[in-house]
Symmetry: C2
Subunit: 387 residues, 2 copies
Amino acid sequence: MLHITDIKGLRCNGIKEGKNGLGVVVCSGNVAGVFTQNRFKSPSIVVTERNIKGGWIEGMIVNSGNANAFTGKQGMRNAKRMCELLANELKTDVEKIAVASTGVIGIQLDMNWIESKFVEVYKDLGNSKDHAMAFAKSIMTTDRLPKIAGCEVDECKIAGVCKGAGMIHPNMATMLAFIFTNADFRSEELREMLKMAVKYSFNTISVDGDTSTNDMVLLVATGEFRVGKDKFLEGLKSVCLNLAKQIVRDGEGATKVLKVEITNARDEDQAFKGARVVVSSNLVKTAIFGCDPNWGRIVASLGYAGIEVNEELDLTLRGYRNGELIAEVKLVEDGVGLGNEGTAREVMESVDEVQFIIDLKLGSGKGYAYGCDLSYEYVRINSEYTS
Amino acid sequence: MLHITDIKGLRCNGIKEGKNGLGVVVCSGNVAGVFTQNRFKSPSIVVTERNIKGGWIEGMIVNSGNANAFTGKQGMRNAKRMCELLANELKTDVEKIAVASTGVIGIQLDMNWIESKFVEVYKDLGNSKDHAMAFAKSIMTTDRLPKIAGCEVDECKIAGVCKGAGMIHPNMATMLAFIFTNADFRSEELREMLKMAVKYSFNTISVDGDTSTNDMVLLVATGEFRVGKDKFLEGLKSVCLNLAKQIVRDGEGATKVLKVEITNARDEDQAFKGARVVVSSNLVKTAIFGCDPNWGRIVASLGYAGIEVNEELDLTLRGYRNGELIAEVKLVEDGVGLGNEGTAREVMESVDEVQFIIDLKLGSGKGYAYGCDLSYEYVRINSEYTS
């Protein structure tokens, strides 16, 4: 398993105390980012979006437990102060630091806690696997597991870490994801590739249909090795998709991953759009939780997805356990239900990932989306997670 | 309480056996309808949409427990056959009958059951209050209560009945609603007024964000009395809103009604659009279930609603019990949280309707939306309601 600390020159650390966490990564490189499209952006988003315009950062500071969102001028001062803490230690400009926050909205940060924990975290920065895990854990909120992924492309390494379990319906970016590479690309090149990779990964997932105020994906490249753009983009896509899938697998209260794949839609955009609407449907999500192959709800949600549809569609269920295909059951052929619900239910009861493949027979567009089921536990977590 | 049987000349009846129900209304009059925008329309929708083009109907036949949706040519034949059953008895054209269905998607109707129950229902048609209630109960699915409403405008009466508890996120219309009046209007006038009334009532509610394949609202006018259009429209709006609120109050698993009102938005459309996005947010809905005045989730959902927003907003909570205002608590002023969450939580714990009033301070647009909380019970109902 590749860790972010396998990128030469990168040092990091983090701590988590109850609901609050603080993490720091020190890494010089060209940078690109994508950010939430929510119109109420966290001051952390506003500051980082501005700071990375220079195309270069020296490090980042991240807190969890408090989103520093809807916190007005005080929130803006606090976000800048967080950057300043790290900039002072690194003897660099405050504009070369990125800041990110995740947690409850509408409450001012406890800056005393942050300032004192920063000292602790900073003095123990390092590049071991334990340091990478400490950072990954420090940014978690309702996440059950830290989320890391990596791959190698020639001599180049790409390693990422992310967090997210609720308020997940990314639009241009998702909760927090930080990806590091020792490849050599200019920040404009990084941005172009990051946007593409995010489109096919973070932007295809949904846990609860709620787009956060704090979504952010940053990509930092230290410039150690050169590598072909196409090869690198493939690697970057695979790391992003790997991280995105870890988010839905850890979706709040989730017991099963749901993938919807649409083939032969009018075009690719329609296929992706339709798939995302289906995985976001509360009725589809509760059916998955109940191991109910209720394909009527799937076609109903496809019908309001705003894409061209065809009633003569085919619909097939596939069940996976630990990534392995267990069984495939065709439920609908040429628009006619085949009465295979009994078999399908048995498959659903024995797997951890359910896939529905919908063949629209209209064109050659192909797309997919990942989500998870909606369980009692989702309701418990979100009715008890107090403001 | 006004019943549909208070409209002169109207006779009805219905029965419910387990999950299945059949209801019949005989009533001659000018007719208008609005129908689901889901692209997979039930054959019942297709047939009724076509039949009411003539502007006149003699009666309607409705089944519950099976949506007759995604049932192809056989479903179309069955929908027509249902119209034929009633047309034969009334010795009228099959094109003067409306048909509606609600229930599970993707399964063919049990026409033997429908034909035999039709005989029973038809022979006991009548115009008593009990007959009205029998019809209202026959169209229920997961509804806990029958839903009726009415008002008088001069000598004119407007009386309606509807059903709906899940798959509720109407777009142009909602689940099944049938409204009758003895007023005298041409079908084009009825249609124009119905569209307006639906916009401010059924189209402002959401239970789970899922738009049904079977939504239908029909308005039948027997032409007994003349009344002014403006007066009638006010009455029609109030009946539609009354019915729509009964749907959210009976939303699957709902313990509380949620109303969001936006004032001083850029324009009316933005105010209605924003309010509906907020009441549809799973995170807002679970917070209401947990009596958590988590206004951070409210502003976050407003931020992705696609409308113009202003961080300097005011946000106030109002709690109602049995329609009576219990308390009002201001949570945010000029974009700053006031720290009144403790008081707000106490209010939420003691009421059955929670309202959030958001003052955007941008223009003069005003709009609202109704929804309900998301509870364990919603998950139970929808993970166990088998296909």
